[in-house]
Symmetry: C2
Subunit: 127 residues, 2 copies
Amino acid sequence: MFLTSDPKAIDLQAKLFRGFGDPSRLSILTALRHGPLTVTDILEKTGLSQSNASNHLACLRDCGLVTAEQEGRYVTYHLSDDRVGELLELGESLLSDVARGVYECTRYNVPSAGTTKNKAVLRTLPK
Amino acid sequence: MFLTSDPKAIDLQAKLFRGFGDPSRLSILTALRHGPLTVTDILEKTGLSQSNASNHLACLRDCGLVTAEQEGRYVTYHLSDDRVGELLELGESLLSDVARGVYECTRYNVPSAGTTKNKAVLRTLPK
DNA sequence: GTATAATATCATTGGTTGATGATATGATGA
DNA sequence: TCATCATATCATCAACCAATGATATTATAC
């Protein structure tokens, strides 16, 4: 057996996709798609709580998906690379054709954006 | 406050990206990138255990990212849409520029592909 | 029919993650 | 200096997910 490619590269790439795979982070990235925004703007647009957004922004910043600039009292965030936006776009496009399947897939679920009130999970439906 | 876009769409899109955000699933998708493969082929290429691969294949199938065809005793899987491959490619390209940041991001971690022996997690480093 | 190879299903469980709430830091203006 | 606004940090804990191992199903060959 020889592996498709370096498992470490796979792990890293999976981690990269996870950056996009959380509703809070994804809503932040989506909000930034049309231009830079202040944290305050992000809070307004996404409806996330302050500390939640700040935690995720730190994560996105560490991962290199967004960059931050202090401007007076405010900090302005923007997407770090055009490919981040392209990935969002491609995901959106793909989703438009596979949405039903994704919706019905019961192996995993995402938490509802910004809240703890998660949907009931339907793991294993009896045949 | 008005939200960037339908939270339900965000949740779904996040769920889609999660399809790519697990090392086992990602290694399967990557293995399929150069053409259709039998489950047995996938096991060989990825090193995943049979039941683990089968579980993830079911998930990818449900989500519409791959399709399956029975051929005799074997089942052949292939990517369902060109955009799946494009997403992998774009992710790879982006990773080549942000890999260090992703590696060092400590907010979340992926399990090592196909095994339970996970790396130690370094959640919160003291300043 | 029986045996065997290929794949699928599913319950269990340990480790991980994300939201929260409290607190800390930093920047500006009075 | 103090007050206040903007943002960051961090510990806690409930919820979730993925690997495993056992078992079931399906297909072929004999």
